[in-house]
Structures are given as C-alpha cells and as structure tokens.
Symmetry: D3
Subunit: 250 residues, 6 copies
C-alpha cells in the first residue's frame, strides 16, 4: 500500500468529499492531534499542549503526505483543573469523541491512524487508549491486522532526549515545553517564566492541587531556548515520520 | 459590566492563565464556535461549516474584544452521514462536549457565552440547546440572570437576507455557502460546482439518504460570488456583534 | 404486500397474541402516536397534543386497517416546562421509549411504522427521529428497504393549510389547536381563551421562558371553530391515510 | 390536608394548567397507572394488565377525587418476551419514565403519589420501586415526610382473596385475570381459553421460556366469571381507596 | 461432558492460567458467589450473607470439582441501607459487575455457571437475573443451549425447610441466618441477639426504613443453634450439588 | 483523632453494625484492597495481584487497628486480557464499584481511606483515581480537608527497592511478584517459572497482545526467593503503616 499522490492539503477537512475518498483508497495515514486548554503558568499560553502536537502533525504530514484530522483541543486536566483558564472535560467525553472520530475515519476507509496528544496526563491518555482499543478489538475480530492505531503523546518521544536540554524532573511549563513553544510560536511567549517544582502528594487525591503548585511550573523555563526547541521538535518529527512510514508499508 | 481592556489575543487559549483570569473579571463574552466535517459536494471542502462560524467569531472578537474558545469541528450530520469525508458524531458526544465546555467557562467566571455553530442540522442544534438549557437552569436556580447563554447558527442570520443573493430553497453547498467560502478562503474552492436540489422524503427516515442527493448540493453554487459572500459575512458579523454588545451591557 | 383482513380492533393491544401474529404476517402498518402533558393555557386541557395525534391515528386506522400502538403521552416540553401541569421528560427517556417500542414492533414482524406525535417541539421530534434512524440503519444493514419508518407531527401536515383557518404565526394553544380540539373533544374546552403572541428570545436559552409567555397562547383561540377543526382534521386524516397506503404497497 | 373540591376530570391531563395548579394546592393524590403489552394467551388481549390497573385507578379517582396521570402501557416482560404481541422495554427505560413522571409531579406540588401497575413482573416492580426510592430519598433529605409514594401492583391486593375465586397457583391469564377482564371489558374476551400451568425452571435463566409455556396460561380461565371478576375488582377498589385516604390525611 | 480431573483448588483464581484452560475444556461448572455488607443486628457480622453463600459454594465445589469464582461481597441493600455498617451499591453497579464476570467466564469457555447470592433482596436478585438473561439471550442466538446460567439465593433453598427450624416469618438476622452462622463461623457471633419483627409498610417507599426496624432483626435469633444450622447448610449443599450435576450432564 | 480501641476484627465486614459505628467514631482508617483475576504465567495463580494487596492490608491493619473493607478481586487487564484465566472488567464497572464503596464508607463516617490495588495497570489505576477524585471534590466543597483518600498500588512502593532484588525491567510474574507470593502463599506456586521479557509495541494498540508475550512473564521468576519476598513485603507494610498513621493524625 503506497501513497502515490499527495492530497491538496495536509488538513483532512480542507479536502473535498471526493479528495478524501481518493486519499482513503491510497492507504493514506491519518493523524488525529489532541491537546488541552490548560494553565501553563504566566509565560505560556493555555494552548501550549495543542500547539505542540498540531505542529508535529503538520510537519510530518508535509513530509509524508499523511492527513491531519481536525484537532480536538479539550483534554482531561487533573492537577491543574482549578487554575484560571483550564477547561477540563470528563473522561467519558474524551472517550466518546475519540471513539466517534476513529469509527468514522475507519468507515471512510482510513485504517492506519495515529492518535497524538500534546497533553500527556494519565487519565487523558487512558481515555485515548481505551477508545482505540475498543476500535481495534472490534475491527480485529472482523479482519485481523487491517485496522492499525497508534496512541502516543509527542511528550513520550521528547522524553527520550530531554536530559540533553533540561534538568532532571523537567515537566509542565518547564524547559522543554517553553523551548518548543519558542521555536513554534514565539509570539505566544508572555514573559520569561520562573523555575519551580511540582510538589504534589504521591498517593493522596486532593481537592485543591493548585494550592500546592501555585506557579504551575515543573522545571526551569528560564533556560529555555528556541534553538533547543527546534532541535527537539525536529527529533520528534523524525520519529513520528517513521511511525507513519511503518504504518504505510504494512 | 464593561470590557475595558482587550485581551492580547481573540483566541481564548492563546492567553495565559492570568490573562484569562483578568478577562473573566472584565465580564468578557466568550464565543464557542462549532462546525462539522461534512461532505459539501466537489467544490467545497469538508470544513465549510467550521470555516464560516470561526470566521464570524474571529471578526466579531476583533471588533468587540470578546474571546473565542477553541472551536469544535465535529458535528452531527444525518443526511450526509454516508458520504466520503463526513465524520459524524453521536448526539451524546456533542451534548457532553458542549456541557463540559460551558460548565468550565462558567467555573472560570465567564457567564456571557455565545454558542455559534456553522453547521445547522436539527439534531446538532438540539444537542447544543439542551446542553445550554441544562447549564442555564442549573445556574439560574443559584443566581437568576447571572448566566446568559445564546445558541445560534450563523446560517440562522444569513437566512434573513438569503433571498437577496440566492434562489429560493438555497441550502447545503449552495449559493450562500459557496459565496461565503469564496470570500473567506477562496483557496479552498475546488471547482465551480453544479446546481442541484435535495429531494429527501419529508417524513421517512431512511438508511441511505446519500443515494437521493448524490451531488450533496442543495442550491446553485454556479452563481456564487466572493463579493456577495463578503456582504453576507459582514451582515452576520454586525448582527453577532450586536448580540455580544447585548450580553456585555446586561 | 396487502392487508387482506382487518384486525378485530384498531388498537394494537386490544388484540390477542395470535391476532397480532396474523396482522404482522399481513404486512399491517402500525402507527405509534405520541403526545405531551403540557400547559395549553386556560381554555385547553394538558392532553391537547395527545388527543390530536391519537384521534388522527384512530381515524386512519379505521379507514385503512392499520393498527395503533399504545400511545405515549409524555413528551419533551422546553418553553412550557415551568407551567403548572406540564410534565416534561428527559431527552434520553423519550429516545429510549421510542427505540424500545420500534425494536419490539420490528421483532414482531411489523416493519412498516409511522411514529406520529401531536407535540412538535424540536427536541421532542429529534429524539423520535434519532431513535427511528438508529433502527432503520441497523435493519438497513441486514435487509435494505425491508424496514420503513416515518416520523412526523400531525402539526407538520396541518401547517400546509393553516393559512386558510388562522392568522399568521398561529401556534401553541392558538386557532388551529383550539379548533381541532373543539371538533374532537368539545367537552374538554374550558373557556373561550384569549389571543396572545409568544415572544421568546430568538437565540438566548433562558431559565424561565414562562415569564415571557404568561398566557402560554401563541395565536388567537377566540376565532376557533369546531367546523374548521373538523376540516383540518379530515385533511390530516386523508394525508396520513396516503402515507399508510404508500407503506402498504411498497 | 383535605381535598375540598373535586377536579373537573379524574384524568390529570384532561385538566387545564390552572386546574392542575388548584388540585396541587388542595393536596390531591395522584395515581400513576402502568401496564404492559404482553401476550395473555388466545382468550385475552395484550392490554390485560393495563386495563386492570387503569380501571381500578379510574374507579378510585371517581370515589376520592384523586387524579389519574396518563397511563404508561409498556412494561418489562421477561417470561413472555418472545411471544407474538409482547412489546417489552428495557429496565432503564421504565426506570427513567417513572423517575421523570414522579419528579415532574412533585415539581408541580403533588407529593402524595400511588404508582400502581397492572403488570406485576419482578424486574418491572423493582424498576418502579427503585425510581420511587430515589425520589423519596432525594426529597426526604430536603423535607422529611413531605413526599410520600406508594408502589404496588393491583395483583398484590387481588392475591389476598385469590383463593376464594381460583385454584392454587392461579396466575398469568388465569381465572383471576380472565374474571376481572370479563367484568371490565367483556368485549375484549376472544374465546373461552384453556387451563394450563407454567412450568419454568426455578433457577435457570433461559433464552426461550415461551417454548416451556406455549399457551402462556398459568391457571384456569375456563372457570372465570364476570361476577367474580366484579367482586375482585370491587375489593381492590376499596383497598386502594383506603390507601388514597391514608395519603390524604397525613 | 464429564469433569474427569479435579482442579488443584476449588477457587478459580488460585489456579494458574493453564489450569483454568484445562478446567474449561473439561466442562467444569463455575459458581459465582455474591453477598452483601449489611447490618445484621448486634449479634451477627455484616458479612453474614457473604459467608453463607461462600460456604455453600466451597463445600459444593469440594464435592463436585466445580470452581468458585472470586466472591463479590457488595450488594444492593434497600431496607437496611441507612444502618451503620451497610455498604449498599447501585443497581447498575451490580448489574455491570455480574455482566462482566459472566461475559469473561464464557469467553474463557466456561458455559455452565451458577450465580449464587447469600443476599436475597429483590432489587439485588433482579440485577443478577437481568445480567444473566442478557448473556443467555446473546449467546442463545449464536448457539442455543450451549450457555446455561442459573441464578439463585441459597436462602431460596433454605426456605424449603425453614418451618422445621424457625417460627413463621423468620427472615433477616433471624433463627435461620443465626443458626447457619453458628455452624459456619461461630467466632463471628457477637452475642445472643433478640427476637423482633420487621414492620415495614407494604407499599410505601420510605426514606428511613431503619427507624421502623431498629433492631434490624426479623425472627428469633435466641432459638438458633449450630446443630440446626449445620442441618440447613447440609440440605442446601446437597441441593446445590444436584444443580451442579444437572449442569454437568447436559 | 486517635484510634483508642482496636475493633474485634481487622476485616470491616466481620464486625457488627454497632462495632462499625464505634470504629467510625474513633476515626478509624479503612483500606479498600483491590486485585485482579489475571494470567500470571504457569508458575503463579490468577489471584497473584489480589493476594499481595490483601496481605499488606491485613498486616497493616493488625499493626494499626485500621479496618480492611471486603476486597474487590476483579480488575481491568489490557495486555493479558486474552489469556486463559484472565477475567477483565470494564472501566465503568471498576469506576462505579469504587465510587459506591467510597461513598458508602464516607456515609458511614469513615473519611480516611486508602484504596490499595495489587494490580497496577494504567487504566485500572486511573479508574480508581478518578472515582476517588470525584468523591474528594464533592466532599471537599462541603467540608474541606475532612475527607482524605489515598490511591496506590503496593507495586508503586515495591518499585522503590526493586533493584535490590530483581534485574532491571522486572515486572509481571517476574522476580518480585514471585518472591512475594513465595513468602505469602508458597502453596500457590505451581512450578519454577521461566525468565522472559515483554515486548509489546510502544504506541500501537493491538488486538492480540498475548501473541507477543506468550509466557506472560516480564522478568525472571527463577531467581525469586521467599526470603526476599518477605523483605519486600515487610518494606511495603512499614510504608503503608506510615500512610495510615499520617491519615490518623491529621
């Protein structure tokens, strides 16, 4: 199955009905990017997670000819749910959106899909994986191996090289995220930011986590740089490009 | 309640947590735009509905200082559900997304909201209205009149002047939608299109509506023009601006 | 498929198990009438919507030999939900009742069904149509064209001739409904009624619509007449009879 | 709390909005009758359960001035679910209908309610009781003792005197039900019927119970009589009248 | 189908994956025991229902070679729900647990199952039966008679001989339950107990049933004896053994 | 809040209603242990996860006087779901069980709870945490800090010292689990086991993970020892004891 002709846009819904039908016949891979609307301290915008995954998806699509489905920018935010600006959604809501989008892509004949989230929260990722699992099991019974779905956060890949660019424990709104945003949308960087460390209880589930992490920062945004952000983004793009190629060829 | 300071971006999630907190204190109105991924014949892209409502929201926000929440581009498509490219979602899915987004905006202190959909299908609009109604009732019991939500399709407003620009019965992928898209994103117009008329049974609910409306066009895209599209868009922008002003002042 | 023998009653559940089995074999059409328990001002009873659709169903059944399933008199009432007497139900409740009744009729071998509601509220009709659509799609995949379901409000048909008997904008508890009730159950007319106009916000979803429409009347009940009511009813009966015939013959 | 003025009809929805408001102020009791659409052998109609509870409700209302809410004629039928004519509904469906109707009656100020089912199946009665329990608990926390709901099957009361009129083990479509129907609606008795005994496994849950009870009769309809039916009905009416009086006075 | 080799433990989950696979091939019957965490007055522990059914299951398994699935000790308690110690669960919760456990046992090849509950509350038993019914219907359509499920309370069997050992009306925490517990786990008997009678309204669903049954006892625990308890237990064991044999041979 | 009197049993449901009421007044902590029924290769039983958490809970309760609620032995197993013996349950099922048990414990006055699972699968833990979060938020709004819930897997704690006893990457049915089971229930060790490594795709969600991990082992059970198992168990017991003490004192 090879993708002989690139679609007229990398964005799934910028194509016409007919163009999508053609793309489906060509075995085109689809990336479904997700993000969150989540407090990322004072220096980063709420769309930080969304921008990162959408950028990766866009760049990979330009290289590979895969398509990018309309992003879903609302995610499940637990630790930051009480901060101003965060718009968290229910587990079932995210599960159903993912299930419906995957079902419809498959009904359209797209059976090579990458669900890629810029937000990497645990509940969030489980909702995505369980939706994908239901689709894969259901389709696997009908025609084994025909439907293939990957679920990942681009953060999972960034972590492979995080030690080169950030101190240990770097996370939410830290060096990595700030660097990547500086490379993608420097205009959305509000200020320099401040270094801080998340100090949430390991096991206790609490009503007001925001009181324990008032800056919302976990890491050091002050050492972030656009150059490093670009390197990290390029690294992720290459890795996701490989995933697309893997799905195209089998 | 007057909005004394414009936020740094019209897009809700391009703001930081702090900026959103400030906007909420200023009584800023939020528009939540929705669309669909839906077959619009060969000449228009699947994102036609999304582009229209997002464009209106964006222009109104630039004029009024209101904010635009991250759009949700997946909608409930009944008549076109079996066409290539359409990605329809369940009633409950749309209902829950809307409910969660509205709940979270209100938790953030935004209690003047316009839910504006570029897709105007009946089931789709009912899902939006029922979600808004649940929120309004729930909040109305606590503090009457504090939370105000409008639910509309920009198509509802366009219909007021449709007879100036299109033949009677103009609808899906017809003169109006084509003209508006020519004004907003001419690069996404694929070809000239063809005139056709939807001929679906009035009462019967059928398994394959697409067989009765093979072109998916209801109207005459061949007489569309960017100039008329611009006029229609400007008309809608003015009307929605008035709605925002109405919400700001009470 | 012709209905050679009329059942011993038009009411589905006045038949015995065996009689129903015979009717199913004969390709008998079934009408499932729905209504509402809804404030219709001081002059009309709460059952106004129910009486109208049940009367149409009954008269059509007498003429055609089709059967009438036990009516469901609870509906979704949004605008009138806070008036005394209104008993509104949830969207899911109506959806499930309709889904279950349709599923069971089809399991019994009745695959020509008319869902006819005397209440025509938008959410109410969408619940009915989505339930019918789920059934039609599910059965359409197994045996295309075998199951046929129509969903309508008798008010949809009345609207075709409403301008002959009522002023423009006639609606809830107005000339038309009052006339029809005078023709069907004059004993349930409480008093003459008063003319009024619904003046609800076009887009805003509000907590207390009843405050804006205190009489609940939209139209002019004072010019209603039993004679006109009878004409309207006969018109609808003939149209629904045609729908039954259409279902019988294909 | 005494009911000083009888409403113009015993049927809740034959009243106007205003009449219902007055009845609520008078502390009027409401009976919500339920039945089933269920195979009752060849001699009885599918509506047998519905007719019985509606008749009792109607007669009690005439005596006491209580109101009868619109009956719900669809029930949960397990043992007879595969017979022609049976239209069984889901547990959740019945639960939600009951919950919504009770909630709305209480919102209207009716807080003395009898839920009376002509169908006495175990799952069916549990759905009714759990819905009532949820309402009672919820309201009990707000205002203890204010809301009072009874849930019963008229069959529960008939059983007190069943041994006078029927052989041991009399049940579905047997002497009692046939006698009662002969007294209420003799025109719906199709033929004499035949004696039979249900012989279902005590513990095993089976896919096709109808094969083990092909006549659907459990008892002896051949010894039924209208005179006995009338006596039984009168007995039940008196007992339910007492329940209404009990609710009125406390 | 005969069970030629006894598994290394009667407890399903004390076996290894491989041992379970072997047992499934041998047509081994599985008992799924349920109980409750429910106030049983001062003399009996909350686990009274659980202990009884688990003991029966264990003894039957030792005799027959059937397996006992991990017990589920949480049940639906209505009358006792407000007593200290009772941990009641929702109807849907119990339904889903039962559905999932049955589905998974059948996926493993165990299609002869006894669901045996020590708690015999009406809602509780209906949840179990409806879950079993859904499984049996679903599997019955694929391969009739292959899957066989029994649902019972061991109390149903005890009732056959209750008059030998207890006064009429013996029930919750009475002679029977106390005797059985004295035979199984005498160490959990806290004190002698006191005779009492449940006096709950026959039809009314009330918010605080515990106020009408303050001791929680329905019967006379003071005449209980371990000897009688042992006789009752042996009687039930023999009867359940017969049920297992019946399932093994067909 | 100090626990002055130890209850008569560590098991919650071995107490009487009265004893539980007393324990609640004393601020007693409750541990709710969960496990799974999951294939653990040929050498370990399906109850491996359950045994571990129940053992820890039991030992901690003996030391601290806290109570152990009836364990729930069914969990969500993704990677091993198709192996013989695994009985996996739905996400909603686990979520609801946890929600109901926590709600009921809190209704009983126990507001210091540790949810401790022997199974540490990601979906499984998220279901537990989301249920706890819902309870904590709901109660936090009423009375901040009153309700405190911890959610953990004993495996989380074991991991702190795993490098002392096992090779890197030790996991499912490996050195650690085998050692711990050898210390707790040596009689359930079936054979020596074999070393193996899980090799599942990092991102792809697949229909048949069991084909890629045929032994189900991830680690080296052959180097397991009861002595090491005992050390690990003692380490975990001490750590969980500390958590109980922390909850007791605040």
């Amino acid at each position: 199955m090879t993708n002989t002709k690139k679609p007229s846009s990398v964005w799934f819904d910028e194509l016409s009905s007919k163009e999508v039908a053609d793309a489906a016949k060509n075995g085109t891979v689809v990336i479904f990017p997700l993000g969150s609307v989540e407090a990322h301290s004072d220096h980063l915008p709420l769309c930080t997670d969304s921008i990162q995954s959408e950028n990766i998806a866009f760049e990979v699509a330009k290289k590979t000819g895969c398509l990018v489905a309309p992003p879903f920018r609302y995610g499940i935010c637990n630790a930051t749910r009480n901060f101003p600006g965060t718009l968290t959604i229910g587990f079932d809501t995210l599960y159903r959106v993912t299930l419906d989008v995957l079902s419809e892509l498959i009904r359209n004949g797209f059976n090579r899909i990458i669900v890629m989230s810029g937000h990497a929260g645990n509940s969030h990722m489980v909702a995505l994986r369980l939706a994908a699992q239901e689709i894969v099991i259901k389709n696997g019974e009908i025609s084994p191996g025909k439907v293939r779905i990957m679920v990942l956060s681009d953060f999972d890949i960034a972590e492979e090289i995080i030690s080169k660019y950030a101190k240990a424990g770097d996370g939410h709104a830290g060096t990595l995220e700030t660097s990547r945003m500086m490379a993608i949308q420097p205009n959305l960087i509000k200020c320099k930011g401040q270094a801080d460390t998340w100090n949430l209880p390991r096991f206790e589930v609490i009503a007001h986590p925001e009181k324990l992490i008032p800056s919302a920062v976990n890491g050091d945004p002050t050492i972030a740089s656009a150059i490093n952000g670009e390197k990290i983004n390029q690294y992720i793009i290459k890795k996701v490009e490989k995933l697309v190629r893997e799905l195209e060829t089998k």
